[in-house]
């Protein structure tokens, strides 16, 4: 088969906030950059982020990056790398100003500065009073940021491959990534993109669970490509369940609702977060609030005929505040829950939301292929955003730190790629075996005949993940889950497409996505089974305590024989003193 080839300095896989902020730096520096996205860029899931982006601008209440850093370390349940966290919290400030200069329509304060709201886990003065650190464009911050970044990339003439699906990374014998095989979804034609550097910015994998706030496209494609390229995934057992998804549906109700003064009640009308987090109450960290809701429901204090959710009360804020600060939430509640929050509370329950783990990188966005702490990064390969793990979120991410992560590390990866390309100006020779392997991944789906359908196996897989790797995890349940997932992985070979057309074949892309989901799902389940402690989002009733002596370390998972290794947490920040682990109370 004659394979069409294109060459670029940099290939970026994914056009969300991380990919587009990297692309913008590169295009502004006149590098030849290709952005591959399986959807038109403004349809990337960054668009759905609601509440905002954290930066210690101190526009509303006193603040500084060091307090932000403390909150992030504590929020991570001391699993975050403190050098990367310090960098992110410092860079948050210029990053948000740059976004504003690029045109993001932030909400404003009477003095003309960017509006900031309170979010969970935020404090002044290292654990003191509530801070207000989340910069917001009403409750549509992700939309405002993604559209602005796309607009600036149009100006900078970034080269976009819209609706191209990334199939596989191409490597040479040394494991150096030379680009990727991608598929033009509209025509079904493959295309080989050769690049001197590659940035994985493919976002999250929430579709591994049945009930999720994540979009249909969030299938962990970049993580799975990394796994198949022989790279590990780090800390995949840490999956965030957002406390307030619309009950039974999963659509997100932003933490900003509680930041603006909304609170949770059970069937007795009790404001139950006062029991679980006496100080922060409804603005405790997400893992804490999610567990509290599940506990209320399990102990029989849930709302509704089946007692299977709690209520988020907002009406006391008044129509003006709701219209001004939470217009999107009001719209979503009406459409999906059939309630107008101006009058009635919103039924909510935790929903699978965000993966703290991902492709391990150092604090420069370079992919780290080994468990050793002082090992070398893989030359020319970068990862940023939800698919990466720097690690700034550790065992639990704070609200408002996700947009921050993608923007800071996307931008940084862009800058580092510019330097790398200056020093490595030649393309390496292409490696035929690797190309053949990638093409093989596509051709496997040309096999015709009877078999399991993509949607059947996907349903079975997502249900298994929900039943065996959810909010509370015990040994037998998880061991059982891992065995079932391995069985599902074996069944993949029996899956057949019913549609073999070339033109816009979603049956084919969903089959490729299902392979990715299953690879990533196993990394979550296997990593979770082996961590015998409770930390952040990983909650083990059979091992209820955090065990810093044994477990203050990162998990690394390889696809090859589902192998696990561990590496130490980087507790030494760049310029300030380390925050030692303490008991985490809110």
């Amino acid at each position: 088969m004659a394979l069409e080839k294109q060459r670029f300095d940099t290939l970026i896989l994914g056009a969300g906030g991380a990919g587009l902020n990297a692309a913008l730096q590169l295009a502004n520096a006149n590098l030849k950059v290709a952005v591959v996205s399986k959807v038109f860029p403004t349809r990337s899931h960054t668009v759905a982020a609601q509440g905002g982006v954290n930066a210690a601008l101190a526009n509303v209440l006193p603040d500084n990056w060091h307090w932000h850093m403390f909150d992030t370390v504590k929020g991570s349940d001391y699993l975050g790398d403190q050098d990367a966290i310090e960098y992110m919290c410092r860079e948050a400030i210029p990053t948000v100003y740059e976004l504003e200069h690029n045109g993001v329509p932030f909400s404003r304060l009477p003095n003309g500065k960017i509006y900031q709201r309170a979010f969970g886990g935020q404090s002044q003065n290292f654990g003191g009073d509530q801070a207000a650190r989340t910069c917001a464009a009403a409750d549509r911050t992700g939309h405002a940021i993604l559209h602005t970044l796309y607009q600036q990339n149009i100006r900078a003439k970034t080269h976009f491959y819209d609706e191209y699906f990334a199939v596989e990374l191409i490597k040479d014998e040394e494991g150096i990534v030379l680009g990727a095989l991608v598929l033009n979804i509209a025509t079904g034609e493959p295309l080989l993109i050769e690049s001197k550097t590659t940035l994985l910015a493919t976002g999250g994998c929430g579709q591994v669970f049945r009930t999720t706030s994540n979009a249909h496209i969030n299938t962990g494609d970049g993580m799975a490509m990394a796994l198949r390229a022989g790279l590990p995934l780090m800390d995949m057992e840490f999956f965030q369940f957002h406390p307030t998804g619309i009950a039974g549906k999963g659509m997100l109700i932003t933490e900003g609702v509680r930041g603006e003064g909304g609170y949770l009640i059970n069937k007795d009308g009790e404001r139950f977060m006062e029991k679980y987090a006496p100080n922060a109450k409804d603005l405790a960290s997400r893992d804490v609030v999610a567990r509290s809701i599940v506990t209320e429901v399990r102990e029989g204090r849930g709302c509704g005929p089946d007692g299977d959710h709690v209520m988020l009360k907002v009406d006391h804020l008044g129509e003006d505040v709701i219209a001004k600060r939470l217009p999107g939430i009001r719209e979503s509640s009406k459409i999906f829950a059939g309630v107008d929050p101006v009058q009635d509370p919103i039924p909510v329950f935790p929903t699978a939301h965000y993966v703290m783990g991902g492709i391990p990188t150092d604090r420069f966005g370079r992919v780290m292929p080994e468990a050793s702490d002082d090992g070398d990064p893989l030359p020319g390969l970068y990862a940023a955003g939800e698919c990466a793990c720097a690690s700034v979120h550790g065992a639990n991410r704070l609200g408002g730190n996700s947009l921050l992560d993608i923007l800071v590390f996307g931008r940084l990866a862009g800058h580092n790629i510019i330097d790398y390309v200056k020093q490595n100006s030649a393309h390496r020779p292409l490696h035929d075996d690797s190309v053949a392997q990638a093409v093989g991944r596509l051709e496997r789906w040309d096999v015709k005949g009877e078999g399991i359908t993509v949607s059947e196996l996907r349903k079975e897989f997502r249900k298994t993940m929900e039943d065996h790797a959810g909010v509370f995890r015990v040994e037998d349940m998880m061991a059982d889950g891992v065995e079932k997932l391995k069985g599902i992985r074996d069944k993949l070979k029996d899956v057949r497409l019913t549609d073999h057309s070339a033109t816009f074949n979603t049956n084919r892309t969903e089959a490729l996505e299902l392979e990715n989901l299953i690879d990533v799902g196993l990394s979550i389940a296997v990593s979770a089974l082996h961590r015998k402690e409770s930390r952040g989002a990983h909650s083990r009733p059979d091992f209820p305590k955090r065990e810093d002596g044994e477990w203050m370390k990162h998990t690394l998972y390889w696809k090859e024989s589902d192998k696990l290794e561990y590496k130490g947490v980087r507790s030494q920040p760049l310029t300030v003193e380390s925050f030692p682990p303490k008991e985490r109370v809110y």
């Binding site: 959807v39 038109f40 403004t42 349809r43 990337s44 899931h45 668009v47 759905a48 601008l57 948000v96 100003y97 504003e100 200069h101 690029n102 045109g103 329509p105 932030f106 909400s107 404003r108 304060l109 009477p110 003095n111 003309g112 500065k113 960017i114 464009a137 549509r140 939309h143 405002a144 559209h147 602005t148 607009q151 600036q152 149009i154 100006r155 509209a186 979009a215 249909h216 496209i217 549906k249 659509m251 999107g328 719209e331 979503s332 459409i335 999906f336 059939g338 359908t453 993509v454 949607s455 497409l497 019913t498 549609d499 057309s501 070339a502 033109t503 816009f504 074949n505 979603t506 049956n507």
Partner: protein, 230 residues
């Protein structure tokens, strides 16, 4: 419930046709759920969709004659028989998937990015809440295309008339107190077609799933032009 969907695969079909499916409904079901149920029965049925909550703008379709976003259209609001077709006036790639490249090209024509001529301040560019309010109703556009593909002026002159979506975007930057390219933006919209082919038919207002009002935005641009001319 019976749902009839438009089918066309250029590799196998000489002509498009409608195909009927019987789907099981449940409380609170959206049109997107129904289309996914159709896909479960026939995996060769193709449509775009992603976020499922009306923010990504992928799943605009024509249902019972109106352009709507499938994921926020309750089935209970649709009259049976439910007929789902691709957006009118756009080339069909396959089934409900249309080629939107002309639509995106028109968006790019209006230079849809903030233009500053002065050097940037160290902190944010200040903007009063009142000035920021002027962007409400303009910046929320999700580029789904429901408006432009329901506009007769866009059907007739998609290469010359920019269409409601692009003009709403043009207005979003004209209305931004931080933008410093007002004259260039207005010059760029001169001529009989780009802006002035809007005949205020207002299909765009009817179609917009985010309740935005492109016709009003177009009127606003015309008003600025008129004011500047005097």
């Amino acid at each position: 419930m019976k749902v009839s969907v438009y089918r066309y695969n250029p590799e196998t079909d000489n002509e498009p046709y409608m195909q009927e499916f019987e789907i099981e409904t449940r409380q609170g079901m959206m049109l997107r759920d129904a289309l996914m149920a159709v896909q479960d029965q026939d995996e060769s049925f193709t449509f775009r969709h992603s976020c499922g909550e009306g923010v990504c703008g992928s799943d605009g379709v024509n249902v019972n004659g109106s352009n709507k976003l499938a994921c926020i259209t309750p089935l209970s609001e649709l009259k049976e028989p439910v007929e789902v077709r691709p957006f009118p006036g756009r080339p069909v790639i396959r089934d409900l998937v249309v080629d939107m490249s002309q639509f995106y090209a028109q968006y790019k024509q209006v230079d849809p990015w903030l233009i500053r001529k002065e050097p940037m301040p160290e902190q944010e560019i200040l903007q009063s809440p009142e000035d920021r309010d002027k962007l409400d109703g303009l910046y929320e556009c999700i580029m789904c295309g429901c408006c432009s593909t329901s506009c007769p002026s866009f059907w007739w002159n998609p290469d010359k008339f920019l269409g409601p979506q692009a003009l709403l975007s043009a207005c979003r930057f004209l209305a931004d107190s931080r933008d410093q390219a007002k004259d260039e933006r207005l010059d760029n919209l001169e001529g009989p077609y780009k802006l002035f082919r809007c005949h205020t038919i207002m299909n765009c207002v009817e179609a917009c799933p985010k309740n935005l009002n492109p016709t009003k935005a177009i009127g606003h641009i015309k008003a600025i032009m008129l004011k500047d001319a005097i």
